[in-house]
Symmetry: C2
Amino acid sequence: MSDSANSGVFPAELEVADTVGRLMEFWGFKRPMGRMWTLLYLSPEPLGAAEIGAELKMSAGAVSMALGELVKWGAVKKSWRPGERRDFYEAETSVGKLVQRVLRERELTLVREFAEALGRAEAELPEKAAGESAALDFKRERLAHLRALSQLGEGLLRALVSGQAIDPTPFLSMRDRPS
Amino acid sequence: MSDSANSGVFPAELEVADTVGRLMEFWGFKRPMGRMWTLLYLSPEPLGAAEIGAELKMSAGAVSMALGELVKWGAVKKSWRPGERRDFYEAETSVGKLVQRVLRERELTLVREFAEALGRAEAELPEKAAGESAALDFKRERLAHLRALSQLGEGLLRALVSGQAIDPTPFLSMRDRPS
DNA sequence: CTAAAGTTTCAAGACTTTTTGAAATCTCAA
DNA sequence: TTGAGATTTCAAAAAGTCTTGAAACTTTAG
């Protein structure tokens, strides 16, 4: 009799879990996090660390680490069962909120760091009067363009994070040479 | 005299390149691709593979591979100089178009694969009349919810790809329990 | 056609990240 | 306070990824 014979988890669910795991990987998370979230999301009852490990063939250590990260991101919540000592976990179901949170805490930071690096670079380019070195002028222009892009991007992200509609048109129509 | 003394590439540019490299990594590309694109983007003249390798301290092999991928994604174009035998490369400057292309070719595929996995899973869950097994009903409901999400996501992506404005509200307000 | 210059490919090695398993720590009940 | 069950931590191993460098291939000039 196989490990998961009585668990009520079907092979098809594990496949979905793997697929979500791969999706999450693309979004910069670890595969096991996606697998675990999905398992919990499809489970009618909260699960304990041991069950999770058994279903997904992960060691207790790996389960603990991944659970910790999921809880940190708000993707999974602890829950208790009366009389049981150990912890149980259930999935946060509002995917929209999760995405929002990731955009806010991770992507926004990234964009801001990019803007800072651009600022430093512009400051560190040798000072010369405009027009004195064609190559320098070119680089300055391009750096400025990148800066404009990053500001646009930051604006879009902010809008998304606050649930507003966004319009990607300016992004697309931004000309390389301002005119 | 250092390697890049006469190249006209300033340290600050290399820092920007590294930062972009890290950004690209988050987007699922390889770091060297971001570095190379940036180097080319900030260069007034197209560069040859040898120069790129020298600036970024990469072997000819690594340069060739990364260039190949960049060209495949349309992020870099080959260009020729009269009289020179070897190839030169210049950056595609429309970041908006690049992003659009990635969304279309990569993310859209990903979402579609996800939908397929969901379909398979729904088909493979044991057949039982609704109401006969609470757990099965629950799983079906959640799978259906995931499917709805993925359709919403696909819609948003399509809109973005075709340059339309998008409204993330339905995403956020999607209730777990349909009523 | 040959040779030289340039480019691509790919197996081996270097490096990075993830996973494991065991020990340490924590927690609660008695 | 003690001890059993549960969780967390962490160093070592495994897995995975990236880079290199040499060889194969292509292209063009002579």
